[in-house]
Symmetry: C2
Subunit: 477 residues, 2 copies
């Protein structure tokens, strides 16, 4: 059945979780399949992902990354080579045991991540300092057999990119992990209008097999954090496990240093929960598959549709993504439809506008309308889209800044994370104190934020011992 | 170990199969993984695929296609819904039976193709004539558990696009299958420099579940055909099996008509075997990841490298894909490297060229060299690439035309297909005659070619009965 667009969705404040899934489905971003946790990315949702791909492909190319494609399956025997890694992923693997009606001797794990495949390949193609560095990336889906699933946020299958890089030195490999972390941060600021908190993960929250994990964290409207991307420095651990060596200019054989990094369709979840409102999705203009929806009013009157198409062509030539909806639905139905879909600008053109040489443009972000003369349409659309982006980013940044609260005690921390937001605490660095926070509040250490490491106290907020690290704690998706 | 580029590869005429795999590996298009039939698409091979994706995405968009992403897995119970379809694919499926350490009740087939997933989705989202047509496409990998595998030609996993479309009428659905067949044909002519034979498959060679299958067939250097893409008209068979209906403007409930179509990384195999030579790959300029390789000679002399970089920038600004190889290898090693990789043009710049304000440009396709004045480089590169494309296409077209031989008897047919090429035969249309050809010659009916259906005899070349269909038979990959 077609979703009724005009039917109200659950309010954010009444039931945020229900509001979220309502938006996912009614904005036609996704649909469920018959297998739990495996979703269908519908055209509108997939087109957002394609915008993200375009942005990142350009940025990755700029630092010398090549795209590749690795096999979907990993033999169990290969997967078991790096101990910490396998322990992290084994409990949630999907395993194929039958091929062409026969039992498979070495069962095949559907890739949950591809470190071991890249390592096996690197072991074959890297032998000299001349072969380094290699910066490879792949766009694919991965499978993690999850018990609790939610569209885009946690799926048994999701789409992502995974970069796997290999260098002669520690400095280069760590530098790559940090460089890509900054690219992800730019993606937030320039494309998604999302300010991320970026920083180093605690040892407890590190990726299985990594020496250091860095992350970008977004703060949702309900005050929970969403880890939106990670980059890892691996040291030489994988290289040792997989026998990857290279001969330096000095003829000495060494293990290379590795890094990996990824963002996924989880970013779509971030966009929804950072920007959405009670009328549905609100899309940042840079990532919106449709930037302007043109709605003809009394479209059967002479000249209206032709004018709408003319404006569409003019805007398309200027590089904007535009549609004209000339279906037989009412204008009211169409307004609700494109509101639900979060299209940044709605352009209305009716008989009076036609006569007066003008159109009406309404902003999705606040409903404000402007009358624009025909000759100024391209310029005004450009301005309104830019303003929309800047205002969305500024609003999200203010919300974020207002929800980073310094705390000096566990009680204060609990109050902050219960209300929603980051509790900023001095931390002694012990796993014990970190565990205690989680046990008492369910909040986790999101990261040791870059750019906010200036101590505001000298005692750990939990144990009172000497502390020089600033950590953000929050409840998280 | 790094492949030694200067080591000679097997000659095409000595062992074509060995030549093929030598080229695949030494041109660094792919590598083997530890699971049979699952290959690694290395940067150079994957970049060719990305060029094909770019071309097709634009063309698909031009006919209103949207990209989507469907789940990787299909429950066995769902897969079994369309009888003919399941019989065609069941013998070669990879099946996951364990998820998160537990047995899965309804085992999950790793998609060999996604008809049933699209049908299940269409059944949910199509209910009115207003919901039609839908033209969806996805880029993904599929898995078919094959006994005999060869890089790009037949893999247990391969990359492809699969379009799945649904319409109110038979005319529209068949029209879509034919329209996309023409897009594939354009892809051959405009991008790959490959002339395809296109036409209708016989019932015996139809896709499992289709009413009509159309294909594009390429002729390899060894005279064997390679099916390089197919489009299918399904009728209402899947719609009936999956309960997809829509209410027409007349309020009557009907089953919609469907089509599907796909090309895969097999196209890379076509490129290799149509254009390659004893020095390796020869890439058509439009699809070549690197169109011009600039080789500095005596690069330590002042001004050489700077000049090489200047030319690179100039060519890149003109829209070409260029590299400068300033590694410490010898020029001879580099010549062999880019020859092996089939880079269309090599641009040499040495001290004398620098002094004379010129460069030397060599064409991969025939080794011809030209001296080009600095101020003409962009123009000459543009001309040489265009000429290269046109000559490659013309050469392949002549080869194809010379290998379509009319035959009136089974003996004549056998002689033609044994030597290599298409035997063009009049056919009565019976399955029996088709089977007999295969039994005696191993050749199969490739298609009833569009544009070549004029009868040249009135008797079937096998049984002698009345015949009005022209069929091309050939041995095939």
């Amino acid at each position: 059945m077609e979703t009724n667009k005009n039917e109200a969705i659950t309010s954010r404040d009444v039931d945020f979780a229900k509001w979220y899934t309502d938006v996912c489905r009614k904005a036609e971003l996704m649909d469920y399949s018959s297998v739990k946790g495996f979703i269908i990315y519908r055209p509108y949702g997939y087109a957002i992902w394609e915008q993200i791909q375009n942005y990142l492909n350009k940025r990755f190319k700029g630092i010398g990354v090549s795209n590749v494609y690795m096999p979907l399956v990993i033999p169990e025997s290969l997967f078991n080579k790096e101990k910490e890694h396998v322990e992290g992923f084994a409990p949630e693997t999907l395993i194929a045991t039958i091929g062409g009606k026969n039992k498979i001797d070495d069962p095949l794990i559907i890739r949950p991540t591809s470190e071991v495949l890249f390592c096996e390949h690197y072991a074959k193609i890297v032998s000299s300092h001349r072969d380094l560095p290699k910066l490879y990336n792949q766009w694919c889906s991965v499978v993690r057999w999850e018990k609790t699933t939610r569209p885009f946020l946690r799926g048994s299958e999701f789409l992502w990119q995974e970069g796997h890089t290999i260098f002669a030195t520690e400095e280069e490999a760590r530098g790559n992990a940090l460089e890509v972390l900054n690219i992800y941060d730019d993606l937030g600021r320039e494309l998604l209008a999302i300010p991320f908190v970026k920083g180093l993960k605690t040892d407890k929250e590190r990726f299985a097999g990594a020496r250091e994990t860095y992350s970008i964290e977004a703060l949702m409207h309900d005050g929970k954090a969403l880890q939106s991307g990670t980059t890892h420095y691996f040291g030489t651990g994988f290289a040792e496990a997989f026998g990857i060596t290279f001969q330096g200019k000095d003829n000495i054989l060494r293990h290379p240093h590795q890094a990996s990094w990824g963002v996924s369709t989880r970013l779509i979840g971030s966009i929804i929960m950072v920007h959405g409102d009670d009328n549905g999705l609100v899309l940042p203009p840079q990532v919106a598959p449709i930037q302007i929806a043109i709605i003809p009013i009394q479209q059967n009157k002479e000249g209206i549709l032709a004018k709408a198409e003319n404006i569409k062509n003019e805007l398309e030539q200027a590089g904007f993504r535009v549609i004209v909806d000339s279906s037989d639905r009412t204008p009211g139905w169409k307004y609700a439809e494109y509101e639900m879909k979060g299209v940044p600008l709605r352009l209305e053109i009716g008989p009076r506008d036609l006569a007066n040489g003008q159109v009406v443009i309404a902003r999705r972000v606040d409903g404000k309308k402007e009358v624009v003369a025909n000759e100024n349409i391209v310029w005004e659309v450009s301005r309104l889209l830019k303003e929309t982006h800047d205002e969305m980013y500024a609003k999200a940044k203010t919300f974020l800044d207002n929800h980073i609260i310094p705390v000096k005690t566990l009680d204060a921390l609990k109050e902050v994370v219960d209300q929603g937001g980051y509790a900023k605490m001095m931390w002694c660095g012990s796993r014990q104190c970190e565990d205690k926070v989680k046990e008492l509040t369910t909040a986790t250490a999101r990261c040791l934020p870059h750019g906010d490491q200036k101590p505001f106290d000298d005692k750990c907020g939990v144990c009172g011992k000497k502390a020089d690290k600033v950590v953000y704690f929050a409840k998280a998706y």
